[in-house]
């Protein structure tokens, strides 16, 4: 099950997920508020914390009656995956965390990489960049597309959603702290760490690795925060090596 992070939608996995289709059942979803999700389902209270999103992930597993699930979570959805694994231990059998961070804001000796002022700056940035957003441009559901690049006609809708929802998701993401949950993880866990990731720096990936007993840390050659898009082959290979190992 592939869960996208803050910013875009399930298209984040379009170059990675197909690599697993021949031997696994693939489940892709748009978090509420993103992509083709029903914006009217957005409830500010439910989604004020990542737990709301994790509950959705669990409900999707229940609705599809899935067990033995590997949750592949990118960015903030690494922690949504952690919450879902702890909430539904009978369904989740492993976690693949792509560029995870349990806390973005520095705290004493812990270096998350950001200050609270930085996060307020992000909210400003979202404001400036959603000036042109209107309900009429609400995301359309995008069908499967074989082209490597999505059409220009999607420019207006792709990665865009209601600015208020984006800001609330930004707060839920960047003001969260899930460090205490990491030691509770008992399923096999893979951590993918990029080079020069400004969102989830290397020391954060190392922290996550140290906190989850028995976890495997793989350092990708990919730079930035979205190896699933910038280095999909390397990302898919690292995840495949991990999940294929889980098979008897």
């Amino acid at each position: 099950m592939f869960v996208h992070g803050f910013g875009c939608d399930q298209h984040m996995w379009r170059f990675v997920a197909p690599a697993f289709a021949d031997r696994y059942r693939i489940v892709l979803l748009d978090l509420v508020g993103a992509g083709g999700s029903d914006l009217t389902a957005y409830d500010p209270d439910r989604y004020a914390q990542l737990e709301g999103y994790a509950t959705d992930v669990i409900e999707v597993m229940e609705a599809l009656d899935l067990d033995d699930v590997v949750i592949v979570g990118h960015s903030v959805s690494a922690m949504i995956g952690v919450l879902a694994a702890l909430g539904a231990p009978d369904r989740v059998s492993a976690l693949a965390l792509v560029a995870p961070s349990p806390r973005y804001i520095d705290d004493g000796e812990y270096i998350g990489g950001f200050s609270e002022a930085d996060i307020l700056g992000l909210l400003d940035s979202l404001d400036s960049n959603y000036l042109g957003w209107s309900q009429a441009m609400a995301p359309v559901i995008v069908g499967n597309d074989d082209r490597p690049e999505l059409g220009a006609e999607l420019t207006a809708s792709f990665c865009r959603t209601d600015p208020e929802i984006q800001k609330r998701f930004a707060r839920a993401t960047f003001l969260s702290d899930h460090r205490r949950l990491l030691p509770e993880i008992s399923v096999p866990t893979l951590i993918l760490q990029c080079v020069d990731d400004p969102i989830a720096p290397t020391q954060v990936g190392e922290y996550v690795h140290a906190q989850i007993a028995g976890s495997r840390l793989v350092r990708l050659r990919a730079t930035g925060h979205c190896p699933n898009l910038s280095a999909p082959t390397e990302t898919a290979a690292a995840i495949a090596a991990f999940v294929d190992d889980l098979r008897p």
Partner: protein
Amino acid sequence: MSPDDSPVSQVELDDAFLAALLDDDAADLYENAPCAYISASVDGTILKVNATFLAWTGYTRNDVLFARRFQDLLVVGDRIFYETHVSPMLHLQGLVREVAADLVLADGQRLPILMNVVLGRDEQGRPTRVRIALFDATERRSYERELLAARKRAEESEARARDLALTLQSTFLPPDMPIVAGLELGAAYRPAGDGSEVGGDFYDFFETGPNVWGVVLGDVCGKGAAAAVVTALVRYTVRAEAARAPSPGSVLGAVHQAMNRSYPDRFCTALFLEIDLDRRLLTVASGGHHLPVRRSRDGRFDRLGRPGSVLGILDSPFVFDAPVTLAPGDTIVLFTDGVTEAQRDGDLFEEDRLRTIIERTSTMSAVEVADAIVSAALDFGGGESRDDMAVVVIRLPSDSSGG
């Protein structure tokens, strides 16, 4: 028209074209373009910049070439936006347009910019480089900030107006039902639409004498602040007059006069009921309002009272005092037209449906009956209320001894 008559001759155009060709050589077009150019590797490492970029930012080529990634020149909030939004869009669509960001300059100042970013690919479709064009957006950004601030102010004042409306409205409805021995009272209210405007419906209960209770329910024409001041006048007039007027009809007569004096262009409809529990006698007066409906313990329905004229219009209104003998198990329902005129496809809710709900809820408490009527009318109207709805339910318990 011959070429010789045109304002600019063909010869002049040809000369201008040649001059432009000579001046605008490709290198100069690049270096001194009216926008800043950056060529970067796929991860953002800056490989090449034009002179405009250097002039705007104060950096030297040594500062940035092969040394900095473009996104590292952005303020932190914009850098997060770049990583989480721009970079994914770039990989998925090949280009991103009109992204607003602040660039950190060599002297630490910020430059608001708009950027267009294009991802280049090789013949196999693999990403090879990123090209970025930056536009100085200082003035546009300050204008946009003003717009944003104005929008926030508008949203805040809208929220304040809604709060004010709700607070004001709540003063027109008693916060709690009085507890009266031998009488069960219930009420329900639903504002029109999203409740952001004060409606004209109101109701009230109060004791007018020993074991005598007054109940008023009414509907002032219009909405908003103009209706609210009239509603306040009507409610206080009813309270004041009920203590001294000889009958319910004269209470409504006093309301009529007060409205004519203070707001001659406004009108309202109202019911005033006086319940004498000791004598088990109800007196009903209607100022142009739907008559209350009674369901008796044996299941029969009747309307109570006599129609009267709307208050605040005629020179001499007619309002009647109609005495009604109450019996144990009587359920009396007062309602505003928001209930009976709830619409579905041009079909109205009407009193027949109201009676059906009263019939179905005969074992419920007065409050539950009132809630059930409002919910049914709301459902009938597709979950949307075009007008306020107010319902008051008065019930004499079946085992009432009548004092």
